[in-house]
């Protein structure tokens, strides 16, 4: 029962975060929304592990998703800050300045 309520709450939160990611007027709304959506997906997988009855495997998968989602978030933030992912032409070395 508790797991069912938790799952429903997580799915509703995912839907709300998706709406914000689609509508979000600024880039930062979208970054925050997609990050929240990733976190909610990870939590949903962890909860589903207890529903299915195999929590160890599902929590391993959830941890892996957190790590991978972090890469995407870092790339998105870097592009929104610098405009690229570091081309050799535009790179400014600390030694040059």
């Amino acid at each position: 029962m508790t797991l069912t309520i938790t799952l429903i709450a997580l799915l509703v939160t995912m839907a709300l975060a998706l709406i914000r990611a689609i509508k979000g007027p600024t880039v930062y709304d979208r970054i925050l929304a997609s990050n929240a959506l990733g976190t909610k997906t990870v939590l949903m997988i962890a909860v589903l592990g207890f529903v299915v009855g195999d929590p160890e495997l599902y929590i391993d998968i959830a941890l892996m998703y957190v790590l991978i989602g972090f890469i995407g978030t870092v790339a998105v933030l870097k592009v929104s800050e610098f405009g690229n992912l570091g081309q050799p032409q535009s790179r400014t070395d600390p030694e040059d300045t």
Binding site: I22, V51, M64, Y65
Partner: protein, 185 residues
């Protein structure tokens, strides 16, 4: 019952994400939509008990392909060119091809039908034999890593060769540049 409901909600979110990715014009947002799409698809693969496919989808879709798309956006700019041409002929071609493909599936057995030939040929052998023959609890993992081990090894060799080739194209030029500066200094 609960799992089916979660599946249906995830599929609905997937459809919403796909439509949003087509309709948005800010390519930065589209890249993030693709990332969200891959995340939801990976969650669905976990629900279907295909953990390896879910790992691959998460690593490639959420990680690498998002980084590649963002790198491309950094090169080409983040706004879509408005299309002025009317695209009736491509639409007609796509609809005709889609109708032909759907017509082609009418002969096939229903999705998930246990009496379908594809589930009767070698699948019972793998399902009954894989725990005792390979010792891997997940059937998909045992097929990928044990029964098709040499195939997977060949794929790894191909991917490694491609990676080395890309590094040879990109990395050498980048290494030389700071070296030249050091010699001129």
């Amino acid at each position: 019952m609960l799992i089916e409901t979660v599946n249906i909600v995830l599929l609905a979110l997937l459809a919403v994400t796909a439509i949003a990715a087509v309709r948005l014009h800010d390519l930065f947002a589209v890249a993030m939509m693709f990332s969200i799409y891959s995340l939801l698809a990976a969650a669905m693969f976990v629900l279907l008990d295909a953990v390896d496919v879910a790992f691959t989808e998460a690593a490639v879709g959420v990680g690498i392909s998002t980084v590649l798309m963002l790198g491309t956006i950094g090169l080409v700019g983040r706004h879509e060119q408005p299309s002025t041409r009317r695209s009736l002929l491509p639409l007609a071609v796509v609809i005709a091809t889609g109708a032909a493909l759907i017509y082609g599936t009418l002969d096939m057995p229903f999705f998930g039908d246990p009496t379908a030939p594809v589930h009767q040929h070698v699948a019972p052998f793998y399902i009954t034999g894989s725990p005792s023959q390979t010792g891997v609890p997940n059937v998909v993992t045992s097929i990928l890593a044990s029964y098709r081990g040499y195939d997977t090894l060949g794929e790894l060799a191909v991917i490694f060769t491609a990676g080395v080739g890309v590094l040879a194209l990109l990395g050498l030029r980048r290494r030389k540049r700071p070296g030249k500066e050091e010699t001129t200094k």
